[in-house]
Symmetry: C2
Subunit: 281 residues, 2 copies
């Protein structure tokens, strides 16, 4: 996916969101803006927008000497964990627990403070549960799953990871070996090993790092060990827009579960913004 | 009003909107972005955002060698003119025509493709007519008007000018001498003499230019003749957010009629975004 001119306002918006999180003074803010604007002057429009946002978030972390999203990630994990018992009951009571868990995993992708800032998770999730899936390859997924004993699960955001846990629990119940992939280090609201531990996912499946601090999965920037896992996995579940942007045409056997939160991605897919997707590569 | 970091995404958004209007190729687009980003690196946060948007729109017009909004301004004037008979009848049938015309003038401020891109004018105006005025100094305005024989009317956008015409007609009926102020040359969707002629306003009152291509009214950049008019006018009607930003604390006897379309201005006023205002300086 190429970068669109419509991504430029969003690059600025993400910067503002990060600055609001860290609450830094105006001198630091101006330093950040100067650096981010310099990055934007060199945007390679042939690359997905995730490249530029990766550079932007690196610059922000460097200038403020920290991770602006550390606290809010913990907070969103805690909120999502408080919802877990109700969500777990919903899955267990469902006539098709795998389907309900998958749908919840897509619903949980609404938790994205890189795009939304002030969000009532419970309400948003309830709405997502009622919305139609715009591209629904669940049947194909179920078939592919039947012949795969392993699943590589590319996680996305903090908070959302609790919803992923529900789906991973169902995959485990079905006897699958699951490796859940976290980022190598902090970037925006993406999960790292810390979040997997906070939400108890490390007790349910193996957690592996992709060795990268990029938004989405920019394969050449990931570790060789991860690249090997990516290549050999019979089935991949890829969560979130960033992974979709960067992995769109990378390989077969990948299912993209996400909500298209921006106009650029929605246009690429020929869908309405805020569509929910369960889409095979 | 100072510039906020929240203005930065909006600077980019305005650039994207202008580029969409002119339909120029990617090389020109990149040239524009490079120049706009350079302008943004030098933003003086102590000045209103209208300063930066003025520089941005100047750069865009220079690079594309034209006015990207020329066609859409004519189109919005024509749409608004087609609504005029219905709106005129609404004012005439009203128990308080001045009040209805003033309200329509505020409602017409919804026509702002610098902020909204795809807009159903009729529907938006109907909604605006039903909405509450968040800060309503109409009574005070009526009193001030009774003791003023002249009104200086600072126009804002194309399309909206037809709604201003309704209010100016009522002022003329009340025996007031009205001078309607247009921009000295093209900037965004702001009206120039051409728009006053297209919408027939020049047949109703005197049209004067402020001699400037700035967003809002940046007094030091206006002509000396306009500055004199501004100083001596007993009563000023100032339309739109740009004029509010730049004239907020400039003088007494000014009534700001507009909709607060952005979070920054709404916050400055302690109001919800999209509030309608009839506010005395």
């Amino acid at each position: 996916m190429r970068t669109s001119v419509d991504c430029f306002p969003c690059f600025m918006k993400q910067t503002v969101i990060a600055l609001r999180q860290c609450g830094c003074d105006e001198i630091i803010q101006q330093k950040v803006f100067r650096e981010v604007l310099a990055i934007m002057q060199d945007v390679d429009m042939n690359k997905p927008p995730a490249y530029t946002t990766t550079f932007i978030h690196r610059a922000i972390r460097e200038i403020i000497a920290g991770d602006p999203f550390k606290d809010i990630k913990q907070k969103y994990n805690a909120i999502a964990l408080s919802l877990y018992p109700r969500l777990r009951a919903l899955v267990t009571a469902s006539p098709d627990p795998l389907w309900t868990a998958a749908r919840l995993a897509i619903a949980g992708n609404i938790i994205d403070f890189g795009i939304f800032t002030d969000i009532d998770i419970q309400k948003s999730v309830d709405q997502s549960l009622e919305a139609e899936i715009a591209a629904d390859d669940f049947i194909s997924f179920k078939n592919d799953l039947a012949s795969s004993d392993q699943v590589l699960y590319l996680l996305d955001n903090a908070g959302e990871i609790v919803f992923d846990r529900l789906l991973i629990e169902e995959l485990k119940k079905a006897g699958k070996q699951v490796k859940a992939v976290v980022k190598g280090s902090a970037v925006l609201n993406d999960v790292t090993r810390e979040d997997a531990v906070q939400t108890g996912l490390d007790a349910i499946c193996e957690i592996i790092s992709n060795g990268s601090d990029a938004i989405g999965t920019i394969l050449p920037w990931t570790s060789l060990a991860f690249q090997e896992e990516f290549k050999k996995a019979p089935l991949i579940i890829s969560k979130g827009q960033g992974n979709f942007e960067t992995l769109l045409r990378s390989r077969k056997g990948t299912y993209f579960l996400f909500q298209s939160k921006c106009d650029v991605v929605s246009r690429e897919l020929g869908l309405m913004p805020c569509s929910m997707l369960f889409r095979k590569s």
